[in-house]
């Protein structure tokens, strides 16, 4: 394996993280929180120095094969989580490094689970950093590095594949750099427009920035204990709901809109299925919830909001789901697995994978009915490549194996069965809330350190889609 190039790529990624860490300092100075200069400045300086050392000399051998790509991305994500947790510890706002690490991983992976019982006590600069990790992790740091590059002679495809979610990753245009710039461009425009709309609704600018970062990365961190429900404003809820659904759509489709290829958007099977699942789940939960809320309208809105927030893996809440019926909660738990579209900032298994897996299942039934039948699986009217089908099925299997192992490991902690299952589900799918003590009103502070580290890994596995992390640890054996 080409270790030099892995170190070089890590250096590039860490430099971005180091520079981004300077942003909370400005926020801190603006709000008069001078103690944060040290708590962000020190880790930032360390990161930048490390990154400069790593990128001091460009390696001669720039061969990046899939192994190097996967390992460098996984190692970078772990390194930036470890570094990103330092400000919380230095400033003393989160007790213990493990807790801070959990919070940061939860941020970068856009999960949004928290260990804090009272979020509102946090300083404004730390809160900003916490939300910013969502934003950076949503589209990916490596993509940012790619977008910043003037040109590259590295085989970037393997790295993009390691960081971009979805079964079939490709370039939008012929150059990786331009593809990354287009995606980040769309991302920034959408985020800024959400900030502006929220600000127009008389939400303080700081709040709207935090809210927008959270929903853009489909993360779910909020600055209030009662999440979005704090504003008690229908308008804010509508804006955030609409935007998380927008951020859960494959970003390639927005590019198609820009270049006026409308038919590609309307015929997109994944988008349709995504919207259908949202509509279906909302309808079922609304009916099941009618007794809990005063009016049908309220029931519909609360159900829709929670479905949108869950399927896009955001984890905003405008109600306490622990009061819902078991049936409604189970549906929420199930759509966590479905997740958002491939190539979005959302988590979960991705709608396109689910479509492919379901279609494979249906094809299997056809084989039983008439064993000689020849049937191909199609997506958007085009046959799906064999490797993609195999990849989707194997991803599902691996996902389930890791899921089972994680549940077994976490059950040593004193949780009920459904609580352990929901904790692992919510972390591996990057959602943010579960049931019982992990529900929207609860938090993850009740777990012990081992469980927290385990969940950190689960979150990274969910965000980077399993393989990079496994490669990182399996790489030694396969040299």
């Amino acid at each position: 394996m080409n270790y030099r190039i892995i170190v070089y790529i890590m250096g590039q990624i860490l430099r971005i993280v180091g520079v981004c860490m300077l942003l909370p300092i400005f926020v801190g100075i603006y709000y008069g929180e001078h103690h944060v200069i040290a708590s962000f400045g020190i880790p930032s300086a360390i990161t930048i120095i490390i990154s400069l050392l790593f990128t001091l000399k460009k390696p001669k051998n720039t061969a990046v094969f899939s192994m190097e790509g996967f390992v460098s991305v996984a190692a970078s994500w772990i390194a930036m989580s470890a570094i990103g947790a330092m400000p919380f510890v230095i400033s003393g706002e989160i007790n213990g490094y493990i807790n801070a690490l959990f919070e940061t991983v939860s941020g970068f992976t856009t999960t949004g689970s928290t260990v804090l019982a009272d979020v509102e006590k946090m300083s404004r600069s730390c809160m900003f950093w916490r939300a910013f990790t969502h934003w950076l992790g949503g589209m990916g740091v490596l993509m940012f590095v790619l977008a910043m590059m003037s040109s590259n002679d590295m085989r970037t495809m393997h790295m993009m594949r390691a960081e971009c979610p979805g079964p079939n990753v490709g370039r939008l245009v012929s150059k990786s750099t331009f593809s990354a710039r287009i995606l980040y461009g769309i991302y920034i425009v959408l985020t800024v427009s959400e900030i502006i709309i929220l600000a127009l609704l008389k939400i303080p600018l700081y709040d709207s920035v935090i809210l927008s970062f959270s929903s853009a990365g489909t993360g779910g961190f909020s600055m209030w204990n009662d999440s979005v429900g704090h504003y008690n404003s229908m308008a804010v809820e509508i804006v955030t709901a609409v935007f998380v659904i927008i951020f859960g759509v494959n970003f390639n489709l927005y590019y198609f809109l820009i270049i006026r290829k409308f038919s590609a958007v309307f015929k997109n099977e994944e988008l349709r299925t995504y919207l259908c699942v949202i509509a279906g789940a909302t309808a079922v939960i609304t009916i099941a919830n009618t007794g809990i809320y005063n009016s049908f309208g309220e029931s519909l809105w609360k159900s829709f909001y929670m479905v949108a927030s869950t399927i896009t893996s955001t984890g905003f809440a405008n109600t306490d789901t622990s009061q819902w019926s078991q049936f409604s909660q189970t549906i929420l738990l199930m759509i966590m697995f479905v997740g958002s579209c491939a190539g979005s900032t959302g988590g979960g298994m991705k709608v396109s994978r689910i479509i492919i897996i379901v279609k494979t299942g249906i094809r299997e039934l056809k084989y039983i009915v008439s064993p000689r039948v020849v049937a191909s699986i199609k997506l958007d009217g085009k046959p799906v490549e064999k490797d993609v089908i195999r990849g989707a099925s194997n991803y599902f299997i691996l996902f389930m194996i890791i899921y089972a192992i994680s549940i077994i490991l976490i059950s040593h902690d004193s949780c009920s069965i459904e609580e352990s299952i929901s904790a692992v589900t919510t972390c591996m799918n990057n959602i943010g809330f579960g049931v019982g003590q992990f529900s929207t009103s609860g938090n993850f502070s009740g777990l012990d350190s081992f469980s927290k580290i385990l969940l950190c890994f689960d979150m990274l596995i969910g965000r980077l889609e399993i393989y990079p992390l496994i490669m990182l640890f399996a790489s030694k054996k396969t040299h």
Binding site: N152, S174, K175
Partner: protein, 452 residues
């Protein structure tokens, strides 16, 4: 520049590798695996599908592309896809066409069908081999500035008068104006200065005017006249063999082709005149002895299998054949054969790539780029580029010794009108000069970039 390449095989892949650094490249191929590996390796966009389907071409953005290159393995598909691309507003189209049956209608295709360039790798390879046989000492010869400058690759043999000669003494010793612009020693490529001393086994690249080049060859081998290739045996009678036999006949060289397929033999004997066609297995020692292959001045191995060609050439070399030329298709084998002491290796693939690259660089002229010709030497580790000084820039008119060149760059020659100047420190550039630059760096598009 937006470039679409149809066919991601050996040539398509090599083109994508070079072009992706400066251009936006999209590759279309039917084979899904090929597309996967090519998009993994290079910074390009890949589309799996039939290149004749307008939907696929549209997805690749044919309407906006500057250059459309069709290099699939079928001539007909290449021509047809170029036609479709042309109708969909592609600016320039290049098609690879190999079948000699189309030779007669190249002009028709260019002018009536609007295909800008037809590349025939077999014909070009034959051309290259013929050139090498014309100068037996040389390994390879390229020409610049419409044939006014020759660039030759020569191996220095034991006992050559060039051995142990410092470059500063070269012109005095030979009383000729030649310039050695690069030396390949072992694995290293060196751009030498005056104190560099040549050793036996070095491969040198040198430029000179055409006349001086001929004189140079005469003086390095006093027996040049006698050494002229008078007879050649071609093992393998494929398309390259056919074209080569034709060209060698024009140079009045006696040609014998050994071909294994009786049908092909018949075809060759019908189409070629004054060429001996032998039907037999060219790898069989009995056939080789019976046909007295090793008595010929030159042996050219042109079978379809690289390994066979290399072995045949090694055998011929060991049996004392003066000039041995080997056709090798795969690049990685070319590197191996360097160590085998085979000097003349011809790769149709890299010849095609070179030709198309020259066209691409030339097309950049309109975008402020002034490359006229480009050759890639030493397994693509070096480039020889011809620039034309189009307008007055700050480097024009200043003696070269006062200009600071970047490292790894040498100005090999300046052509002013009909005159060739091998540049010294006091020479300077003028508008409308053609300048040949040799460099180990890549991707120069403008003369300005070579100065610090």
């Amino acid at each position: 520049m937006d470039i679409i390449i149809v066919g991601g095989g050996k040539v398509g892949g090599a083109l994508a590798e070079v072009l992706c650094h400066e251009h936006n490249v999209t590759v279309i191929d039917r084979n899904e695996q090929r597309i996967n590996s090519i998009t993994n390796d290079y910074d390009i966009k890949g589309i799996t599908g039939n290149c004749l389907q307008t939907a696929n071409l549209e997805e690749a953005g044919v309407g906006k592309c500057k250059l459309f290159i069709a290099v699939t393995d079928s001539d007909e598909v290449n021509i047809l896809s170029c036609l479709i691309a042309k109708k969909m507003n592609a600016h320039h189209c290049i098609a690879r066409v190999r079948n000699p049956e189309f030779d007669q209608q190249l002009v028709f295709m260019r002018e009536e069908l609007g295909i800008s360039m037809m590349v025939n790798p077999d014909f070009n390879s034959a051309n290259e081999i013929a050139k090498v046989l014309r100068y037996p000492e040389a390994i390879n010869i390229e020409s610049f500035a419409k044939g006014r400058v020759d660039l030759a690759e020569i191996r220095i043999t034991n006992g050559s008068i060039l051995e142990n000669l410092a470059l500063s003494q070269l012109s005095r010793r030979l009383r000729l104006d030649v310039l050695i612009c690069a030396v390949q020693r072992g694995d290293e490529v060196i751009i030498p200065n005056g104190s560099f001393v040549l050793h036996a086994g070095d491969k040198i690249h040198m430029t000179a005017s055409h006349r001086n080049m001929v004189r140079f060859f005469k003086s390095i081998s006093s027996a040049y006249r006698e050494k002229r290739v008078k007879s050649a045996v071609l093992i393998g009678g494929g398309r390259v063999g056919y074209h080569l036999a034709q060209q060698l006949r024009e140079m009045s060289v006696k040609v014998k082709i050994i071909e294994i397929d009786p049908k092909r033999c018949l075809e060759l004997s019908e189409r070629l005149s004054k060429v001996t066609v032998v039907c037999g297995d060219g790898t069989n020692q009995d056939v080789i002895r019976e046909e007295r292959v090793y008595d010929a001045d030159a042996v050219v191995s042109l079978t379809g299998i690289d390994e066979e060609n290399i072995l045949l050439s090694l055998l011929a070399k060991n049996n004392g054949v003066e000039k041995v030329v080997t056709k090798v298709n795969r690049m990685n084998l070319m590197q191996l054969s360097e160590t085998l002491n085979l000097d003349s290796i011809i790769s149709p693939k890299s010849i095609t790539v070179n030709q198309i690259l020259q066209y691409v660089r030339a097309k950049q002229n309109s975008d402020g780029n002034n490359v006229a010709t480009l050759y890639r030497l030493v397994n693509d580790r070096m480039e020889a580029i011809e620039f034309v000084v189009r307008e007055h820039k700050d480097y024009v008119g200043i003696p070269l010794k006062k200009l600071k060149l970047r490292s790894g760059i040498l100005i090999a020659s300046i052509v002013r009108g009909n005159e060739l100047i091998i540049p010294k420190g006091d020479d300077f550039l003028k508008v409308n000069d053609s300048v040949v630059v040799v460099t180990t760096n890549r991707g120069f598009g403008d003369l300005k970039q070579i100065f610090d």
